[in-house]
């Protein structure tokens, strides 16, 4: 029985083409790899190679025929008595049937199924007598890493100056002394390379903590973070994940100019497959970094240089771990909801104090995790207050505040008494001059003003 040669699709979009030329005649011997015809597509002239061995039997579509549909039989090849089982798929009894339909099943429904609901969780209950110790954000982060490294041999830290220099911002202080150079690794200045190496180590089953000296430099590595770390679990059908933490200072620092002062909250929280954490207190930093290291997914842990030296009470517990994806009500109030995270919380809390003096009680919500975003907490608050202000150091267009505002519009529209207001960094590269830098950043006064305006005060 002859084997049919079908009009091939030669690009992802090709539906038909012209049969320009036959390079073999009926009766010619052909073997796999021989060019038998030329086909013109909308893009180019392509060669059709034989896959089977035999003799060109019949030419079904003469040269010069235009608009031959993909999958139309164009010729037959006669084989030299090969076993029939090996070729039966491609054989067909008819000599020139119309183009075959692809056997891809039609999708039953065009619309996507609903996204799964986020599960709710809560912070661990601290018993009344829990002792609190005062420590800086820097110390809390270091303790979180040290505790997890004691607990799990596969956790290691790598980055520029993390070991012998004790960290560019001294966050890894003492880790080399305790864990040695095998687990606290100074890298060359090679962000793309060591981010990729870290992801490879995670694919191999280790749990790297990759420190970026600051997130500004992680732009060199963003391909490995997005394309390799975030997508592999999905692309492997759940077979291969990547448990890794990328951490370091993010957001505007002081007087370092445009290339060293940028907030990446919106960049990373755009990416499915990543979790993004941005704490504002030492307790949250400790509990969430420990959770991040244990989490089986790639985590972006955004710290803040200006907060490193600030002190906060931290529960003195052997194993203080907080849930990822849970916001925290930092201050209760009933008139307006202010939503912030990381450094934005500094402006928000100070603004709330100012507002209280004028009789406006602001509820301040610290998102803590940007992805997955805990909308439930701020939606519940906005349904109560009817007014909302977002605060971020990043730029406004496509910012996290824009996302929060959209969710409020979708889920609390009927409760709103005023449009959501956004306080953000100004849309300019960060200027160096002290006065301009101040103007480019959000301020307590701007938050106060925004809160008042949504309260029509």
């Amino acid at each position: 029985m002859p084997i049919e040669v079908l009009m091939p699709a030669l690009s992802p979009t090709m539906e038909k083409g012209n049969l320009a030329k036959w390079l073999k005649k009926e009766g010619d011997a052909v073997k796999s790899g021989d060019v038998i015809a030329e086909i013109e597509t909308d893009k180019a002239t392509m060669e059709v190679e034989a896959v089977d061995e035999g003799t060109l039997g019949q030419i079904l579509v003469p040269e010069g025929t235009a608009d031959v549909a993909v999958n139309t039989p164009i010729a037959t090849i006669l084989t030299d008595g090969e076993s029939s089982s090996s070729t039966k798929n491609t054989k067909s009894a008819k000599s020139a049937p119309p183009a075959k339909k692809s056997e891809t099943p039609e999708p039953k429904s065009a619309s996507a199924p609903a996204a799964p609901a986020q599960q709710s969780m809560s912070d661990p209950d601290l018993s009344a007598g829990t002792e609190m110790v005062t420590m800086t954000m820097r110390e809390a982060l270091r303790d979180a890493m040290a505790e997890e490294m004691r607990r799990d041999e596969t956790v290691f830290v790598m980055g520029e100056e993390v070991a012998e220099y004790q960290g560019a911002y001294k966050v890894t202080q003492g880790l080399l002394q305790e864990f040695g150079p095998k687990r606290v690794i100074d890298t060359p200045i090679t962000e793309h390379g060591f981010a990729g190496l870290g992801v490879g180590a995670a694919l191999g089953g280790l749990k790297p903590i990759v420190e970026f000296m600051t997130f500004n430099f992680a732009m060199q590595a963003i391909d490995q973070i997005v394309n390799s770390a975030a997508k592999t679990l999905y692309m492997s059908g759940g077979q291969m994940g990547c448990s890794i933490v990328f951490r370091g200072p993010n957001g505007p620092a002081a007087r370092v100019g445009a290339q060293h002062s940028q907030d990446y909250s919106a960049w990373y929280s755009h990416i499915p497959g990543l979790k993004v954490i941005a704490p504002s207190t030492a307790a949250d930093a400790k509990g969430l970094l420990k959770a991040a290291i244990r989490d089986p997914n790639p985590i972006i842990f955004l710290e803040n240089e200006i907060l490193y030296g600030q002190s906060f009470p931290v529960p003195k517990l052997d194993d203080f771990v907080l849930p990822i994806g849970k916001a925290r009500v930092a201050r209760a109030g009933s008139h307006v909801t202010i939503i912030a995270w990381s450094m934005g919380m500094t402006y928000a809390l100070k603004a709330a104090e100012e507002l209280a003096k004028e009789g406006i009680e602001a509820e301040v919500i610290d998102l803590r995790t940007l992805k997955p975003m805990d909308s439930d907490t701020f939606i519940a608050s906005v349904r109560k207050t009817g007014r909302a202000v977002t605060v971020e150091e990043g730029w406004q267009q496509n910012g996290v505040g824009a996302e929060i505002a959209a969710r409020i519009m979708e889920q609390a529209f009927d409760y709103l008494d005023a449009p959501v207001a956004r306080v953000s960094g100004k849309e300019v590269p960060m200027p160096y001059a002290a006065n301009l830098e101040k103007l480019a950043l959000p301020s307590v006064a701007e938050v106060v003003e925004a809160a008042k305006s949504v309260c029509y005060r």
Partner: protein, 338 residues
């Protein structure tokens, strides 16, 4: 070594005489290479029928590289490559059915139909992908080698990439760390002379890619990548070097792809004669076939039988990949995070 000579400067080292294969090795490599060849031909055909979508990069012509290298590995070693990955997966021992079903985007594919031709993984056979960004697998493979050092096992990671990928900056970032930390990684550069439509001479200031590690003190050599025996011999040398804790090693495989870069490539940047010449005089499978018959390891009839068995396996894979259902719609949301 005719192919190796096409490069401007051959490595100073003259390659040692290539050791002969035993009957078993010749027959096994013949079968393994043929499986890749037939699988790829079938994939090309299925692409033509619209069953495989998007990009589909065939490995036809380069079979000796992965088959020879695989003969130098032991269990626990890792393999990682780019998007021209079907041959690597089959060489690692992955099931042709699962690979083909991934190409057709069906639920029985290695990634449940969510990865496609360029993105497949199999932890149990040591295959770590399947990566679509040119060069990205190089730091990743270096990281896999890092896990071996960290765990103190003697495993080695083979990190494959192309002549085009060799111009990516991250390759050199990885080279530097690999040598600095003496990581057990063999960088296997598959120099098939073209990166899409750009020939190596139009893209590379130094076309002898085996020398690309020299400024990091990484040794390398050019290998006739069309001769599976030469590949295996070089592979064993490099893998042993790594296993013994000497750090990375570079093997530049002089090879050739017969088909276009991907299915939609008309390949107008080279002549038909160039392709025909390699096919006629250097084909990796024909070389073994010739040897087998010459040494009377077996006869034509037995080879035909092997051929038929391989075709049957490939047909079963394509049958499965054609009739296996697409993933359930609920799979849209699974495996984003865990």
């Amino acid at each position: 070594m005719a192919l190796a000579k096409t490069n401007a400067k051959a490595n100073a080292e003259t390659p040692a005489k290539i050791p002969d294969f035993s009957k078993e090795q010749d027959l096994a490599s013949y079968r393994d290479m043929l499986l890749i060849r037939r699988f790829e031909e079938k994939a090309g055909q299925m692409y033509g029928m619209g069953l495989i979508g998007g990009f589909c990069h065939l490995y036809i012509g380069q079979e000796a590289v992965v088959v020879g290298m695989q003969m130098a590995l032991k269990k626990g070693d890792q393999v990682i490559t780019g998007y021209r990955d079907h041959g690597h997966m089959l060489a690692c021992g992955m099931d042709p059915k699962g690979v083909m079903a991934e190409l057709t985007g069906r639920r029985g594919g290695y990634s449940k139909g969510k990865g496609g031709s360029m993105h497949m993984f199999s932890v149990e056979t040591g295959f770590y992908g399947g990566h679509g960004i040119v060069g990205a697998q190089v730091p990743l493979g270096t990281g896999l080698a890092f896990t071996n050092t960290y765990r103190g096992n003697k495993n080695v990671c083979l990190t494959y990439f192309g002549d085009g990928a060799a111009n990516q900056g991250q390759v050199y970032e990885a080279f530097n760390m690999a040598e600095l930390w003496k990581l057990p990684v063999v960088y296997v550069i598959e120099n098939n002379r073209y990166a899409m439509g750009t020939s190596i001479t139009r893209a590379s200031a130094q076309v002898d890619l085996s020398r690309r590690g020299l400024s990091f003190n990484i040794q390398g050599e050019q290998v006739d990548g069309m001769d599976v025996r030469a590949v295996k011999a070089a592979g064993e040398k490099a893998v042993t070097w790594c296993r013994e804790g000497n750090g990375p090693y570079i093997l530049e495989m002089m090879t050739y792809r017969y088909r276009g870069h991907s299915m939609s490539d008309p390949a107008k940047y080279r002549t038909r004669e160039e392709v025909e010449d390699v096919r006629a005089h250097h084909d990796p499978i024909e070389q073994v076939r010739h040897r087998i018959l010459e040494k009377k390891f077996t006869n034509e009839d037995q080879l035909k039988k092997i051929d038929a068995e391989v075709r049957e396996r490939v047909n079963q894979a394509s049958e499965f990949a054609t009739h296996d259902p697409e993933p359930d719609a609920s799979e849209l949301w699974t495996d984003v995070v865990r």
